[in-house]
């Protein structure tokens, strides 16, 4: 699932490890989510959105909408 994690992280000058520590997950998890190779569970998606003080839709691209747009 496409997302803005990398951009949001860069805006705060956080490394993947910084973000992983804040989310209490491994750096591999952050990397996989950033690259769209792993879709986080809903609780983790909420945790990510909360951390950036955004909604889930502002962090992750809705695949249904993305499909209609393309």
């Amino acid at each position: 699932m496409k997302n803005r994690l990398r951009v949001l992280r860069a805006e705060r000058e956080w490394s993947q490890q910084d973000l992983a520590d804040r989310l209490e997950v491994s750096r591999q998890s952050v990397n996989a989510i950033e690259k769209g190779r792993y879709d986080p569970s809903l609780p983790l998606a909420f945790k990510i959105a909360d951390l950036f003080e955004l909604t889930i839709e502002q962090v992750f691209v809705n695949p249904a909408i993305e499909g209609k747009e393309s």
Partner: protein, 136 residues
């Protein structure tokens, strides 16, 4: 970074493996030395299986305790591929045995084969993730 659950898993697995080696050598030495018969031989034969069953339980506990969902999903995927490998090999060997192409094969090897399948898959996934990159 190894998760806390992974560290606990490593310690627990090491304990079961040390117990397995200790029990196995003790039992084999006793059987070769005293050649017990009957129920004592059955009991002694079963003893080395206990730590191996313990190791399987440790793997299951790890899967439950792992709080990093990406790691957990990866481990579960690796275990499934290990299971698929064992079932495939068992099916192939079974048909070869039905047609008398292959003789008796020790079923003991099922668990090691499963573990090898798991381990190899983990290696492949680790390699894939390392190639996917990402800054530290």
């Amino acid at each position: 970074m190894r998760t806390a659950a992974a560290k606990r898993y490593t310690v627990r697995l090491a304990v079961t493996m040390i117990a397995y080696i200790g029990i196995l050598f003790t039992v084999l030495s006793y059987i070769r030395g005293y050649d017990p018969q009957g129920s004592l031989r059955v009991l002694l034969s079963l003893l080395p299986a206990l730590p191996v069953i313990g190791a399987i339980a440790v793997m299951g506990i790890y899967l439950i305790e792992e709080t990093d969902e990406f790691i957990r999903a990866r481990v579960a995927m690796s275990m499934l591929i290990g299971t698929g490998l064992v079932l495939s090999v068992a099916t192939v060997l079974g048909f070869l045995q039905i047609t008398d192409v292959v003789g008796q094969v020790e079923v003991f090897w099922a668990f090691p084969l499963w573990a090898i399948g798991w381990g190899l898959t983990q290696c492949v996934l680790n390699f894939r993730d390392s190639r996917a990159g990402g800054e530290a």
